[in-house]
Amino acid sequence: MKKRLFSIVYMFFLTLVCTGALAALEMGTRERVALNATARLQRVILEVLALPVPADYSPRQVSGLFDNRVRQTSIDNRKVFVGLDEDGKTPIGFAFSASGPGFWGPIYSMVGIDADMEKLLGLNFYDHNETPGLGGRITEQAFTGQFADMPLNGEGQIFFSFEGAGGKPGVTEVDAITGATETSVRVEKFLNKELALFIETLRANRQKIVSSALSKGDEKP
């Protein structure tokens, strides 16, 4: 009986020590972990707005730059990030998130369009579960760089069509990723659909978005 009681007391105290130590460590790193996650997304937003972020910027510096140049607002319950000129008053572009199914799981992209909503500024993927080295290469500069400066004209247009590497060149053709057919097909599909829907909404509400972004200062995503 005594042995059993000792087992219980021993386990209780050992658990207390372990969880106590972990809780303390969690408190110590929580802020840093949160900042890492925020800064990662902020870096993607800045980059798709064609506001380059130096590679050696620390999370804190990225956040600082973001606070200076980007304002957040929303339309139809979706977040819109408004990129501002250095003076902090003139909009230079709009960024929003678009997502859809990938091969292994959902893919989340951040899309930046210019202030006149006539061309893309940039596009990147910030969360996905695609195979590293194959579909996972959608985040590489060689792939995402192709979206910069692409024109967005006309209604119901097909924004992108993916071609095999070295396919016919054209303003809205993108070289797909060799060996990642499934990922490419799905990305093409959801981007074309999401962009067509949301850019229309943005165009219809441009004035509202700009004024609400400029009126409220410093909300963070």
């Binding site: 372990c18 972990v33 195979t131 590293p132």
Partner: protein, 201 residues
């Protein structure tokens, strides 16, 4: 029983009783994290840290831990160290932490660690237990790095992210996928067993 020297313990963990290719333990993560050398290295370091310190702690508590609850105690200790590693990666190496995904947390279920705690640490003093944990972690890391070396070289044409093979070299797509780890690891075990057969006791 004569006590083994630290050198013997090390050589056992690294080679003659290597957890991965002699005992075929812990191969789930060996399949998942071996397509890039950089990820593999961090995973190896994480595992070395967890095996070494879990063995040390289990050994330090071996005389007061009641026998009947020793498994619970071991799991608690291992889990604590794994969470420490996970938090450290999230705070200081967020990119690697994302690349390794759930596999850091899954170190808890790696049979090598529990195996060393149960098979060695609970019957031996702290220092040899620590060396034993270290040796087995190193043995695991060494085999994984060998597998990752082959997979990254043939699959991406690079080593530690630096391209070493010319563009004209056709990348072996299969090497990037999980099944390739089976082929490479299988070949590794085959070679090891052919040229350095395990001595019969």
């Amino acid at each position: 029983m004569m006590r083994e020297s630290s050198a013997t313990i090390l050589s056992k963990g690294l080679w003659s009783d290597n957890p991965v290719f002699r005992q075929i333990l812990g191969i789930c993560s060996a399949l998942a994290v071996t397509n890039l050398l950089i990820n593999t290295s961090i995973m190896g370091v994480a595992l070395i840290f967890v095996t070494a310190f879990s063995s040390l702690t289990v050994s330090a508590l071996r005389n007061i831990t009641p026998l009947r609850i020793r498994m619970m105690v071991q799991v608690l200790i291992i889990a604590s160290y794994v969470i420490v590693v996970d938090m450290a990666l999230k705070a200081y190496l967020p990119d690697i932490s994302r690349a390794l995904g759930p596999y850091v947390g899954l170190i808890i279920t790696n049979c090598i660690i529990m195996g060393r705690c149960e098979g060695y640490a609970r019957n031996n003093p702290p220092w040899p237990a620590f060396v034993d944990g270290l040796a087995n972690g190193l043995g695991y890391a060494f085999v994984l790095l060998a597998v990752a070396f082959v997979r990254e070289l043939l699959g991406f044409g690079s080593l530690f992210g630096v391209t070493v093979l010319p563009e004209s070299f056709t990348r072996w797509t299969i090497m990037v996928m999980a099944p390739a780890a089976f082929f490479v690891l299988g070949t590794f075990i085959w070679i090891a067993n052919t040229y350095w057969p395990k001595k019969e006791k």
